[in-house]
C-alpha cells in the first residue's frame, strides 16, 4: 500500500462466554436480551460483597496463553484498576496489570494468509479481567444493563508487528477461530463479545511514527476500515507537510461517517492507581494443572485445515474457508458424515450456503437448512432425481419456505425426466416445431444445437436430464 511503512498493534478483548458463571461472582454467564436478568450483589457493587475467582475462567485463560506460546505465571493474582464510571459499579475493575504477572506473557503466533504465505505476530500479553456493564445512552437519560458486568474478559495485546489491514483481520479471524475451537467463547461480535482497540502509525524511515489509538472497534470489518482510514488520514497529513497534526491520542471509529474521531489526548490519560486485589489471595499454579491444561488443547484450525486437504483432497482455499469458523467446520463434517461426497459438500458450503449466510448475516448453525436437509438435496441430485439446477432452486425454496426438501419436491413435481421415451417425444416435438432451424444446423451452424437443448429444457421446465437430452438430440438430429 502507499509509500509509508505502516505499523499496527491490536488489543483484542474477547468475552469468555463458555464458563457457567461470571469471573468473580456466581451469576450466570449467559447472553440474554432481558436486561439485568443475570446479576448478583457483587455485579452491582453492593457494600460487603467479595470477589470469588472462577477457576474455569482461569483454566481457559491459561489454555489460550499456551496456544499463544506465552509464558504462564508462577502465581496467580489480580489487581484493581480504579476509575469512576457507571458501567463499573464498584468503580474499580479487577484485572491484571502487565508487565506484572498475568495469565500469559511474551508469546507469538504464526498466521497463514489466504495466498499461503505466513507471518508471525508477537504477543505482548494476554490477561484476564471482568467486563463492565453495558450502557445505552438515550436522549436525556442513560440505562445500564448489568448482565455483562463481571463476565470474564480476556484482553490480548499484540506487539506492533502488523503492517496491513488484511494481516490484522487475518490475525483477528484466526484468534477468533481459536476461541471457538477451544470452547472458550462464541466470539460473536454481534453479541458484543469481541471488541478491539487499534493502534496505527506510519513512517518513512526506521523510527516509528506517532501512534494513534482507535478504541472500541466492534467488528473485524470495522478494524479493516479503521486501519485503512487512519493510514489514509495520516499519510495525507504527512504528504501535506502537516505530520505534526498527527498526535498521540485516542480516537474512536464512527461507523456512520466511516471516519475516526478524536476522543482525548494521551496526555490526559487517567491514573488508574493499580494495586494488588487484597480479597483474592495470591496462589501458586501447579505444574500438574498446567500439564493437564496443555494436554486438553483441542485440534486447532490450521491442523484441521491440513486434515481437510490431506484426507478429503480439498483445495487450500476451500479448506481455509471451512476451518475459519468452527460452526462451518462442524456443518461440513456433519454433512460428510451423512454420506455426502466431501468435495460436493465443500463446494455447496463455500458457495451457496456461505453466500446465503453472509447476505442475510446469519450464523450457519442457525440455518433451517441443516446438514440433514442439505443431504436430502444433494443425494437427490447425485441419484439423478433432480437436476443440479433444480437442486439449487430447491435449496432456496427450503430456506424461504422453511419446509422439508422432500415435501417441496413432491409439491412442485420436481423430478428429473430421465426416461428415454419421454425425452424422445419432447425432442421430436421441438424438432418438428423448428424445421428451418434444423436446416440451418445441417448447413453448419452447429451452435443451433444449444438452442434445441434450451427449447427442450423450456418445455420440461428444466426437469429433463440435460445429459440425456443431449444424447437423444444428437441421435434424433442425425435421423433427420
Amino acid at each position: 500500500m502507499g509509500k509509508y511503512n505502516v505499523t499496527i498493534g491490536l488489543e483484542m478483548h474477547c468475552e469468555v462466554s463458555e464458563t457457567k458463571s461470571k469471573v468473580f461472582s456466581s451469576s450466570k454467564n449467559e447472553y440474554t436480551d432481558i436486561p439485568n436478568a443475570n446479576i448478583s450483589p457483587y455485579d452491582m457493587g453492593f457494600p460487603g460483597v467479595l470477589p470469588v475467582l472462577n477457576k474455569e475462567a482461569v483454566r481457559m485463560s491459561l489454555m489460550m496463553s499456551m496456544i499463544l506460546n506465552c509464558r504462564q505465571p508462577e502465581y496467580m493474582y489480580f489487581e484493581r484498576k480504579n476509575y469512576y464510571y457507571p458501567d463499573m459499579p464498584k468503580n474499580y475493575q479487577i484485572t491484571q496489570n502487565p508487565p506484572e504477572d498475568c495469565v500469559g506473557m511474551e508469546g507469538y503466533i504464526d498466521i497463514i494468509r489466504e495466498d499461503g504465505s505466513t507471518f508471525r505476530v508477537g504477543i505482548d500479553n494476554i490477561h484476564l479481567e471482568e467486563d463492565a456493564a453495558s450502557m445505552n445512552h438515550l436522549y436525556d437519560t442513560s440505562v445500564i444493563d448489568y448482565n455483562r458486568a463481571g463476565v470474564p474478559l480476556l484482553e490480548l495485546v499484540t506487539k506492533p508487528d502488523l503492517h496491513s489491514a488484511d494481516d490484522a483481520v487475518a490475525f483477528l479471524e484466526y484468534i477468533r477461530a481459536i476461541y471457538q475451537y477451544c470452547g472458550i467463547s462464541e466470539a460473536d461480535s454481534k453479541k458484543g463479545q469481541i471488541r478491539c482497540d487499534v493502534n496505527v502509525s506510519i513512517s518513512d524511515g526506521e523510527t516509528l511514527g506517532t501512534k494513534v489509538e482507535v478504541k472500541n472497534v466492534n467488528s473485524f470489518s470495522g478494524v479493516r476500515e479503521t486501519i485503512n482510514y487512519e493510514i489514509k488520514r495520516q499519510s495525507e497529513l504527512k504528504d501535506a507537510g502537516r505530520y505534526d497534526e498527527v498526535v498521540q491520542e485516542t480516537r474512536r471509529w464512527d461507523e456512520e461517517s466511516g471516519t475516526t474521531i478524536r476522543m482525548r489526548s494521551k496526555v490526559d490519560a487517567e491514573d488508574y492507581k493499580y494495586f494488588v486485589e487484597p480479597n483474592i489471595p495470591r496462589y501458586k499454579i501447579s505444574k500438574e494443572w498446567l500439564e493437564e491444561i496443555r494436554a486438553s488443547i483441542p485440534e486447532l484450525p490450521y491442523e484441521r485445515k491440513e486434515k481437510y486437504m490431506q484426507e478429503y483432497g480439498l483445495s487450500d482455499y476451500d479448506a481455509g474457508i471451512l476451518v475459519k469458523d468452527i460452526n462451518i467446520a462442524k456443518y461440513f463434517e456433519k454433512t460428510i458424515s451423512l454420506g455426502v461426497d466431501a468435495k460436493t459438500a465443500a463446494n455447496w458450503i463455500t458457495g451457496n450456503i456461505l453466500g446465503y449466510t453472509y447476505k442475510y448475516e446469519i450464523q450457519i448453525q442457525e440455518l433451517y437448512l441443516t446438514p440433514e436437509r442439505l443431504t436430502v438435496i444433494l443425494d437427490s441430485m447425485r441419484d439423478g432425481k433432480i437436476s443440479s439446477k433444480q437442486a439449487k432452486e430447491l435449496f432456496y425454496m427450503v430456506l424461504e419456505r422453511l419446509e422439508e426438501p422432500a415435501d417441496i419436491m413432491k409439491k412442485e413435481g420436481m423430478q428429473q425426466i430421465s426416461d428415454d421415451g419421454a425425452i424422445i417425444a419432447i425432442v421430436s416435438e421441438v424438432l418438428n416445431e423448428n424445421l428451418s432451424q434444423i436446416e440451418e444446423y445441417k448447413a453448419g451452424k452447429t451452435n443451433m444445437f444449444d438452442y434445441f437443448v434450451g427449447q427442450v429444457m423450456k418445455k420440461t421446465r428444466g426437469q429433463a436430464n440435460p445429459v440425456k437430452v443431449k444424447e437423444i438430440l444428437t441421435e434424433e438430429l442425425a435421423k433427420r
Partner: protein
C-alpha cells in the same frame, strides 16, 4: 437488670432449666437498649420487634446480642454509621451473622460506630457521639464504640465488632471488657462493609474470655463467598479452653513499656505501665515466662504511618462504590459525575474525606513507590520481626494504649509524640492477621484499662487460653460499667 449482666453459659443454663425464657431475655435486652441509647447514644437501630427464639443445646440459642452497623443484616437498616447509607437496607446478610443465626442467636440492635470503621474515637458516626458508660464525658474509643458501650453496660453478653487497626481491642480496653479478633480469614468478611480489606477482621466484644471463645466458634467457618477464609472446623475454641498455661511464654517490647523511654511521663502513663508490670507478675504466678525483647524503635515508630498509608489506600478504592447511583441517597446534578460528587460531598464526614485524599495520593503512580509500596515493605518487615519472636514465644503481651479513655472534648488530654507507638501497636495484629485479644487488667481513678495478648496466625487457642488463665487471676471478668462521679 436481672439477666443481661450474666455470661452466655449462665444464661444458657437458666434457659435450659426454664428459669427464664428467651422472650424474657430479649425483652430485658430491648429495655436496656433504650436506656443505654439515652445514656451513651450507642445504637443506630433498636430492633423493637425482636422476639425470643428456640432454645436448644446450642450455647448461643435464644440469647440476645448486638451487631455493629457495618454488618449487612437482611431487611434491617445497615448504615455503617454513614450518611451515604443512611437509608440502606441490605437484601442479604453477612455470613458471620448468618452463622450466628444458625446457632439460634437473636440480634436486638445495630450498634453505632465511627463512620465505616474509619475512626478510633466513636465520634464520627452519622448519629452522633458514643459516650463511655464509665464516664459519659469520655469516649469509648472506636470504631466499635456502640458495641463496647452496650456490652460494658450489660445490654447483652456480647456484640459484634470489626477491627482494622484496633477497632475492637481499643474500645474493649476503654470500656473494661474483652475484645477479640481471631486470625485473618477465620471469620468470613462477606457482608461486612469494607474499610481496608487486607486489614479488616470480624470479631466480638464480650465480658469474659470464655464468651469470646463461644461467639467466635459460632461466627467462624470457611465461606465460599470469601476467598480469604480457611477451614477452621478442627478448631473448637470453647471446648479446648483451659487455664493450664504452665510453661507458656510471652514477650513484651521493652521500647514501649519501660518507663525510662518516656521523658516526663504523666502520672496516668506511669500508673498504666505499673498495672502492666503487675499483670506480667500475675502471668508469671501462673507459670508463664515473660521476657522483654528489644525491637528497633524506628520500626515501631513507623507502624502508625504504615497503617495510615495502607488503610487509606484500600479504603479509597473500597468505598468508591458509594456513589448514590444504585443505593444510598441519590445526589443532585446534571450528569452522573455531579450526582456522585454531590452524594459523596454531602455523605462523608471530613475525617473520611481526608483519608480518601491520603489514599488517592499514596496510590498515584508518581507516589506509589515512595508511599504505598514502601508501606507494604514496612508492613512485611514488622510482621517478619514479630513472627521471628513467635518462634520463641507463644505471644506478645502489651498494655493497650497509654491509659484510660480520653475525654470527648479533648481539652484535658495531653497529646504526646513519643507515645504514638504505644498508642498504636495493636495495628501489628492487623498487619500480620494475628489473633489478638484485649482483657481488662486494672483501673486508674475508677476507669478501666486493658492488656492485650497477640499470638501467631492460627494459634488462636493458645492466645485464648493464656488470656483465660490470666483473667482468672483478676476480678474484672463479667464486670458491668460503674459510673464514676
Amino acid at each position: 437488670m436481672k439477666y443481661m449482666n450474666k455470661s452466655i453459659t449462665e444464661l444458657h443454663d437458666m434457659l435450659i432449666n426454664n428459669e427464664v425464657t428467651s422472650d424474657e431475655l430479649v425483652k430485658e435486652s430491648l429495655e436496656l437498649s433504650h436506656e443505654v441509647e439515652d445514656k451513651c447514644n450507642a445504637f443506630v437501630t433498636i430492633l423493637d420487634d425482636a422476639k425470643g427464639g428456640e432454645v436448644t443445646d446450642d450455647l448461643l440459642s435464644g440469647i440476645p446480642y448486638g451487631i455493629k452497623d457495618n454488618y449487612s443484616l437482611k431487611d434491617v437498616l445497615s448504615t455503617g454509621s454513614s450518611n451515604t447509607l443512611k437509608d440502606y437496607v441490605p437484601f442479604f446478610t453477612a455470613t458471620a451473622v448468618e452463622n450466628l443465626s444458625k446457632h439460634g442467636a437473636i440480634p436486638v440492635n445495630k450498634t453505632a460506630m465511627d463512620e465505616f470503621g474509619m475512626g478510633g474515637t466513636g465520634t464520627t458516626g452519622h448519629t452522633g457521639v458514643q459516650k463511655n458508660p464509665w464516664d459519659t464525658t469520655r469516649m469509648c474509643a472506636g470504631s466499635s464504640s456502640g458495641s463496647a458501650a452496650a456490652v460494658a453496660s450489660g445490654v447483652y453478653p456480647y456484640a459484634l465488632g470489626s477491627d482494622t487497626g484496633d477497632s475492637i481491642r481499643k474500645p474493649a480496653a476503654y470500656c473494661g471488657i474483652v475484645g477479640y479478633k481471631p486470625t485473618y480469614g477465620m471469620i468470613s468478611r462477606y457482608g461486612l462493609f469494607p474499610f481496608a480489606s487486607s486489614l479488616d477482621h470480624c470479631g466480638v466484644l464480650t465480658r469474659s474470655v470464655r464468651d469470646a471463645a463461644i461467639v467466635v466458634d459460632g461466627m467462624k467457618g470457611i465461606d465460599h463467598r470469601d476467598m480469604t477464609t480457611w477451614d477452621s472446623s478442627s478448631i473448637k475454641l470453647n471446648d479446648n479452653l483451659t487455664d493450664d498455661v504452665k510453661g507458656k511464654s510471652l514477650f513484651y517490647i521493652k521500647e514501649l513499656v519501660e518507663i525510662e523511654n518516656y521523658d516526663n511521663p504523666s502520672e496516668e502513663l506511669k500508673r498504666h505501665l505499673e498495672i502492666f508490670d503487675e499483670t506480667v507478675k500475675r502471668c508469671e504466678s501462673i507459670g508463664i515466662k515473660v521476657e522483654g525483647v528489644s525491637i528497633d524503635k524506628k520500626l515501631l515508630e513507623a507502624i502508625p504511618a504504615t497503617y495510615v498509608v495502607i488503610s487509606c489506600a484500600e479504603a479509597t478504592s473500597n468505598m468508591s462504590n458509594l456513589t448514590g447511583l444504585i443505593f444510598g441517597p441519590r445526589g443532585e446534578g446534571n450528569n452522573y459525575i455531579e450526582v456522585m460528587k454531590d452524594h459523596r460531598t454531602k455523605g462523608f464526614s471530613p475525617l473520611i474525606k481526608r483519608r480518601f485524599v491520603i489514599g488517592s495520593y499514596v496510590l498515584q503512580t508518581e507516589n506509589q513507590e515512595r508511599y504505598f509500596k514502601n508501606a507494604q515493605r514496612v508492613r512485611r518487615l514488622v510482621v517478619d520481626t514479630i513472627k521471628e519472636q513467635f518462634k520463641k514465644y507463644d505471644g506478645l503481651i502489651l498494655p493497650v494504649g497509654t491509659g484510660v479513655a480520653k475525654h470527648l472534648d479533648g481539652s484535658k488530654d495531653i497529646l504526646r509524640n513519643d507515645t504514638s507507638a504505644l498508642e498504636e501497636h495493636l495495628q501489628i495484629g492487623n498487619f500480620g492477621g494475628f489473633p489478638s485479644i484485649t482483657i481488662p487488667d486494672g483501673f486508674i481513678d475508677g476507669l478501666p484499662v486493658g492488656v492485650n495478648i497477640t499470638g501467631n496466625c492460627y494459634d488462636d487457642q493458645n492466645v485464648l487460653n493464656i488470656a483465660y488463665a490470666l483473667e482468672k487471676t483478676m476480678d474484672y471478668k463479667g464486670q458491668i460499667a460503674r459510673e464514676v462521679q
